[in-house]
């Protein structure tokens, strides 16, 4: 493989970081210096991500790799794909936020001046996401995962109401504790590879992959357990999920979309880069991960039935769907990783869409209680359409994107003869469809429960509808033409598998 040094990793990180600093310093008033700079920073990062994906596709299967900072930063096809996905989603969320956050300023809930902190923190979060995807260093990965939590904690309690503050408090405490376990795993791993790898190379993920087979078994198991606890907490898997429903529900809608669409994927990304290194040497890890993943799938799907708050329902669904992603990665087979990546991508699109729909309902009616909503399809046809695309998509219906990824994951579990995992994941799919069809029907076609809510409802402005329509179109496009993503996913899967071999 031809490995080149490049400035791209720096650019991917520094563009949003500079955007964050700029907006914090000069974004006091609405306009070019605040919204304009935020938009430009994301668009420029996106352009670079597109270029990197283009180069990775041109290079062929797993053959693309650029490094920087003494190989502590690395971009391969997997990183490039994640950077592209994250930036596309963030761009759409940002476009939606311009109008959505203004409505909170207009209603007097927040002062206009505080929006500079909102956009600055969103940019800071983007910088931490980019740092995560370019990290080839164990500690840099830990720092970026931790930083992504800190940059979003103040966004969760942006309205400074009691529930938001509670949610943010739980969010930081639980994730910092979880990530402390991941750090302990990193320290144990580092201490055990030091005799075999010299200098700063002992922290490089690509180097650690070469010596996993010769480190003491007990330490490997302990490291995996610690890393699993840490990154599963970030990913919101049961039993480490307690922060997730609260933070998702109480954050402003665009932040909820970021949490569900992007932040929990950082946990999955870190998991794929670290824990999967061990699976070829210790196949029992796959069964253990599949068990935790299946537990998450089914329990969260059942809990979602008990929710009246639409955003909490979506949050529990995220926990359930992340079970599929972790389960696929944990198998560490080609099919498992491919399915995990495919479902990660699809879930990002669908859950961003669904949280934006929830935001649209809050914008239009002022409530997110399913019990209080009803009959809104006549008043909000665009939102109804987008919600149903998201709902059917997340349920894995044919002609929608996650049908294909779930099918690959079922096949991956079956390939490993984990029939119980196949049964649980299929069953969870049925439960997911049921809960979303029930919620969607109740909100858009059910009898209006509150006249006040029904009569005050109105369709959202075009500025908010466009990002939702784009996401819905993406979900359907991938559903009917999944082949478009095959080369991208194949390249990314090869990259993860190369890491085990220490290429």
């Amino acid at each position: 493989m031809d490995v080149k040094t490049s400035l791209y990793p720096y650019v991917l990180f520094l563009l949003p970081a500079c955007g964050a600093i700029w907006v914090a310093l000069f974004g006091k008033e609405k306009g070019l210096l605040r919204e304009g700079v935020s938009f430009a920073a994301v668009v420029l990062t996106l352009v670079f991500s597109v270029h990197l994906v283009w180069r990775s596709l041109a290079a062929g299967r797993g053959a693309f790799m650029v490094t920087a900072f003494f190989r502590n930063m690395l971009i391969d096809s997997f990183s490039a794909m994640m950077a592209l996905l994250f930036n596309v989603m963030l761009l759409l969320i940002l476009l939606y936020s311009f109008r959505y956050m203004k409505s909170h300023v207009d209603s007097g809930q927040i002062r206009d001046g505080r929006l500079r902190w909102f956009y600055s923190l969103v940019m800071a979060f983007n910088a931490t996401m980019m740092l995560t995807v370019i990290s080839n260093n164990l500690i840099m990965l830990y720092i970026s995962v931790e930083a992504s939590t800190l940059s979003t904690a103040l966004l969760v309690c942006f309205f400074r109401d009691r529930r938001g503050l509670e949610a943010a408090y739980k969010y930081i405490v639980l994730i910092v504790v979880g990530i402390a376990f991941a750090l302990m795993g990193c320290v144990l791993l580092y201490a055990s590879v030091v005799p075999h790898i010299t200098g700063h190379n002992a922290l490089l993920l690509t180097e650690i992959g070469k010596v996993v087979a010769i480190i003491p078994k007990n330490i490997a198991v302990l490291s995996v357990a610690c890393l699993m606890i840490g990154f599963s907490t970030k990913g919101g898997l049961i039993p480490f999920h307690f922060w997730l429903p609260d933070a998702h529900a109480e954050a402003p809608a665009p932040v909820s979309a970021m949490l569900s669409g992007l932040i929990i994927k950082i946990g999955a990304y870190a998991f794929a880069r670290t824990v999967t290194i061990f699976t070829p040497t210790y196949p029992a890890v796959a069964v253990y991960v599949a068990a935790v993943a299946c537990l998450s799938m089914v329990i969260a799907a059942l809990l979602s039935f008990a929710q009246d708050d639409l955003k909490r329902l979506l949050a529990f669904s995220s926990i359930s769907q992340l079970g599929y992603v972790f389960g696929g990665f944990g198998l560490a087979t080609y099919l498992g990783i491919y399915g995990g990546l495919f479902h990660l991508l699809n879930h990002t699109i669908l859950k961003t869409l669904l949280f934006l729909c929830a935001g649209a309902l809050i914008y239009a009616t002022g409530t997110r209680s399913i019990r209080e909503l009803g009959g809104l399809s006549r008043k909000m046809p665009i939102t109804a359409l987008c919600f149903f695309v998201g709902a059917l998509g997340i349920g894995g219906m044919p002609l929608f994107n996650s049908f294909h990824s779930k099918f690959v994951l079922f096949a991956a579990f079956a390939e490993q003869k984990l029939w119980w995992a196949v049964a649980i994941s299929v069953g969870t799919g049925v439960l997911t469809v049921a809960v979303f069809v029930w919620a969607g029907y109740r909100i858009f076609w059910g009898e209006p429960a509150s006249d006040r809510v029904f009569h005050s409802a109105r369709e959202i402005p075009l500025a908010m509808a466009i990002p939702m329509l784009v996401l819905a179109a993406l979900a359907v496009f991938i559903g009917v033409y999944p082949q478009a993503l095959y080369p991208l996913l194949d390249n990314a899967t090869q990259c993860i598998m190369h890491t085990w071999k220490g290429v």
Partner: protein
């Protein structure tokens, strides 16, 4: 031999000051002992810098003094700043004093026994099997368990933040004990000394108290429905 005694004493000092941090109800006393705990911790890095000749350890010592001994307690938004705006006494813990001491002794004895009779199980390298590494690892593990114990049994928001700091310190102790002679160890320790989370948590804790009068984490129950 003298040097080994000193490092053992430092580790023991770290543990004993920590016990006071956990048990004391007066928050200013807790912070005072936390400063002592953090200072002894940084002295351990200094000792390793002297013993191994690893100059990067000196930098780790300096950054730990700056962050744990000075910034976190004394900076605006830090522990003392927050305590000034808080009730002076910690919200009563879930477990009473006597039982708490019993649990702490059990945890310490358990990890001491484990690291002396089953060290092979967790030793990532040969050096960890010998003294003083083995005893120090036992203390580092005890500190980590006590951090988790504090998180689970203390209800006060400030104590919860202290518990997070203790977890971080325990990981640093483990790190320095396992790989003391390497420059990368110090870099790793310095980079992972994240203090921003402490300030953000204290900020949210202050907001919860000033706006809603809550210092008790058990009362953060608005979202349980």
């Amino acid at each position: 031999m003298m040097a080994f005694d000193l490092i053992k004493d430092l580790y023991l000092g770290v543990l004993l000051t920590l016990v006071v941090v956990i048990m004391a109800r007066n928050l200013k006393v807790c912070i005072g002992f936390y400063i002592g705990h953090a200072f002894l911790l940084s002295c351990i890095y200094l000792w390793y810098a002297h013993e191994t000749g690893n100059l990067m350890m000196l930098l780790w010592f300096a950054t730990t003094v700056a962050s744990q001994v000075l910034l976190i307690p004394f900076a605006p938004g830090g522990f003392f700043y927050t305590v000034k705006r808080y009730p002076p006494k910690e919200t009563a813990p879930i477990i009473p004093f006597g039982l708490s001491i019993f649990f702490i002794v059990v945890l310490a004895a358990g990890s001491w026994g484990f690291f002396h009779y089953a060290i092979d199980f967790v030793a990532p390298k040969v050096e960890a099997l010998q003294e003083p590494s083995r005893s120090n690892l036992a203390i580092a593990f005890t500190v980590f368990s006590l951090g988790v114990y504090t998180l689970l049994t203390r209800r006060d928001t400030i104590k919860t933040v202290m518990a997070l700091c203790i977890l971080g310190n325990a990981i640093d102790l483990t790190l320095v004990d396992l790989t003391p002679g390497m420059a990368e160890t110090a870099v790793l320790g310095i980079l992972t000394d994240v203090i921003i989370s402490v300030f953000i948590l204290l900020y949210i804790g202050r907001m919860l108290y000033v706006r809603f009068g809550v210092t008790d984490t058990m009362k953060l129950s608005e979202l349980r429905y």
